[in-house]
Amino acid sequence: MNASAVALSILLFPAAGALLLAGRGWRMPRVVTQIVGPGVVWLSFAATLWLFFNQVNGDFAYWTWIKSGSFELPFNLLVDNLSIFMCMVITGVGGLIVTYSVGYMAHEDGPSYARFFTYMDVFIFSMLLLVLAGNFVFLIIGWALVGLSSYFLIGFWYQRRSAVLAARKAFVMNVIGDVGMILGTFVLFVTYHAVTYAGVFSHLTSLASVGDSAPLELAAFLLLVGAVAKSAQIPLHTWLPDAMEGPTPVSALIHAATMVTAGVYLVARMHPIYDITTYAHDAVAIIGAVTALFAATIAIVQTDIKRVLAYSTMSQIGYMFLAVGIGAYAAGLFHLLAHGFFKALLFMAAGNVIHAMHDEQDMRKYGGLWNQMRPTSVTFLIGCLSLVGVIPFVGFFSKEQILGAAFSRPGSLGLTVWAIGFATALITGFYTGRMWWLSFWGKPSPQRPVEHPHEAPMVMMIPVAILAVLATVGGVIQTSVLGFGPSAVSSYLDKVVTAAWWEAGRFPGGYTREFLVAIALLTMVLAAALFAGALRMRPWSAVVPWAQRLLERKYYFDEIYNAAFVRTMDAVASIGYRDVEKVVIDGAVVGTGEAAEATAGSLRLTQSGYFRNYVLVFIAGALIAAALLLVRTS
């Protein structure tokens, strides 16, 4: 088979599925939607596996999109280890989640059911375009399209006002990022006159070849704006918790496993830029670390199970930003994979619970599910332990790599972000424990909507179970962090994301492997202790009421944004309405009309309709003309 055709087919399968479902889906029997919706994602997964096993590497140009003078924009797909890795996460985890949706969305009527899978396939297509694009223009197209499909899916239940508002908020925030991306691309284009990755990066092969790094820093910061908005990092994070208004599989796919990790992919893909820049690269790590800690603290007080998971997602993506920000790209991407496993698992297991509880999402109204929904409880516990970073689960291996890289990075930045990451790991243990004990342990809450909940059907349970297995044993592919075994992920990715000239002593560290592992184990023990301790530490909020309030209000970010932007814009708009629109514009428009009417009113008097008037005017005119002639000739 032709490698470039296979690479293109990865994109075409979900696109074809989306077109079919959009055009004919609601007229065809439900089973067509159930097969086509997830089926095309699995076909893409198969194509990705083919590329993976054939070790395809290449920059395939299909046709020229724009040609103008010396400027040429090809439609090219970049297939390398990084994009294949991302495609595997998207189509693999995505396939499981879309399959799960077959059961989760079963209550929807025919047209809505087809609409849901149309959106899901559009999303998968856009995300694949984002990671496969070989130039900045198609990267931006994919980038904007995932924002659009996220908007569709958050607002899927458009009859609910809150869902529509959340969708709009997410879209606006994402567009801020899109603008950053576009400006960043423009800066790169002005500087290097290229829009393909290969064209831009060929100028960045070494520190010496760059010269003035100011435009590069600017471009890196602008691209970072895009990454921050898409990945819900501070300060553009407020859309993600609200995005939980969407159906739970959407939260699992878009707002946990794939779309929100696009920022991490972006920084990794742009690593030749970030390797050279100093400030922008450090900013990535700082933003990541701050977000990790900040989101984790908010997660402590949330009562909505999906919102806990949303803040946890922000926090874990903060870890990934931290990792790519200190140059440990492979570690960050491995955490992306691990997080895709365990957070999709947590969301889908939580979806089982929400499904059984008739859409009740308040954890305080659960309780006692351990005995009644045993399979879901077990898988949820696996997800929790993986999130906390307990040893056989995949979360331990990925977190250890990130924190180890941060700890051994020379300079104060490494230690600072390590300390924040360490604190975050402990808080993660606490809020995860709180979520777990509150939802599944103890006696059933008296307010629980369902006395005897039903376990989810097989079509939902099997994907959850597969992810539970992956979250449990996924770590074996990267056991080298313990000093033995393979390092499959990092050695696979390091071929792409580590520049040859950069390898020379980035992390001399000076720490032995055993020392780093010991620190990781200490972190794990403390986090696990907090996880267990959360059972008894429940009335903790009474201790510091103001802190509780601060966290419950999410550090007042929404309020600040409302005051700073929404209200300001409202004020500007109302001033514009009252003083500009009403006075100046309406004055001009209405004034023109009134002036014309007044003029016409006086002119119409001349149209008396009386024959003799016209004759009189005519004769008078003739006389005047004659008089003028006489004056002229005499």
């Binding site: 149209q607 008396s608 024959f611 004759v615």
Partner: protein
């Protein structure tokens, strides 16, 4: 160029003809302006046309150029045509309504 015309042996200064034409024209114009009967207005218009014809013929004789007289014949033809059209319109209006005052036809006022 002679200042007088020979009409049947008598010499008339050309200005007499022009004065007569001016008087006829004024009569016609005033008639159009002040009379309200449509028929009288049409007659007044004919009067103005004939006043102009008189000047044309007078100048033609004075300048010894036949073009003026040709032009007068032309004017008569046009006047006849105009009278036909004008009367036809009037007859048509009479069919629809009883018209005695031209001011009744003022529907086209602004």
């Amino acid at each position: 160029m002679a200042g007088s015309l020979d009409i049947g042996g008598s010499q008339f200064d050309v200005s007499w003809f022009l004065l007569l034409a001016a008087a006829l024209f004024t009569l016609g114009a005033v008639g159009v302006l002040v009379r309200r009967n449509p028929l009288i207005i049409l007659i007044s218009i004919e009067l103005m046309l004939n006043a102009v014809n008189l000047t044309l013929v007078a100048f033609s004789r004075q300048l010894e150029n036949l073009e003026g007289q040709l032009f007068a014949l032309m004017t008569m033809t046009v006047a006849a045509a105009e009278a036909v059209v004008g009367l036809a319109i009037l007859v048509d209006i009479f069919r629809v309504r009883d018209l005695e005052d031209i001011d009744d036809l003022s529907e086209l006022k602004g």
